[in-house]
Symmetry: C2
Subunit: 121 residues, 2 copies
Amino acid sequence: MDQIIADRNTGTSTIERRAKLFRGFADPSRLAILGALCEAPLAVHEIVTRTELSQPNVSNHLRCLLDCGLVASDRDGRFIRYRISSPRITALLNDVDALLDVVAEGVEACENYCEGKMLKT
Amino acid sequence: MDQIIADRNTGTSTIERRAKLFRGFADPSRLAILGALCEAPLAVHEIVTRTELSQPNVSNHLRCLLDCGLVASDRDGRFIRYRISSPRITALLNDVDALLDVVAEGVEACENYCEGKMLKT
DNA sequence: GGTCCATATCATTCCTCGCTGATATGTTGT
DNA sequence: ACAACATATCAGCGAGGAATGATATGGACC
């Protein structure tokens, strides 16, 4: 718990880094995108089709995921193909599912905070 | 990606469950609390001292974490001792640190979204 | 070069959530 | 029963960010 106040000089502590990374995953749209990319690399319009999200919305989230280093992109003709940047990401998603097996009902029940937004349509 | 639209009847799809769980971790205050509890079970006032968060704030977050099943509580005299509910949680936190080793700079650089809030003081 | 398609950007709106301050509940010891 | 401490609850404020619609960029093919 020393690290709670550590890195105060750098402006971003270990905890804040963790929180920021978690935030990257804490959105249904981004999870839908990552889930689709976990199966295969996809171009933007393919992601749009599969997730049924709007194109600007997907593009915005992809930029966020790209800046965060969670996905990578390669130009492929007129398309830009996105892919998961590291197998650690799929590993993390699997761990979350494993944890959900234990705490699923609890998470559903939590109405105070973490109400969250729903995936559109 | 069929599961994106699955469970529409239940109101909560797999993706939304995942997002909700991630949200539980996507806050510096809750991460500080969980980090402290990972080392040892603690009473509320001890968490307040270590994290330097306000007492109502800690209490609110603990309620959220308790409802979500991420922590458990036992009465111990006039104290209420909180503890991590499952070793899978510490495992998840370790995975996040492992992923951070890879994408740390990227996450720091992401200014578009996920600006996040800082830990107080 | 011009048109089409794929993708990115911008401004605005709306909603969620975290923090605070005051207060309520509850438990222990005298 | 009362005093003191530990914890929980509540209303209100403020900020961050997600989605939308319109628009801009940019490569590919004729």
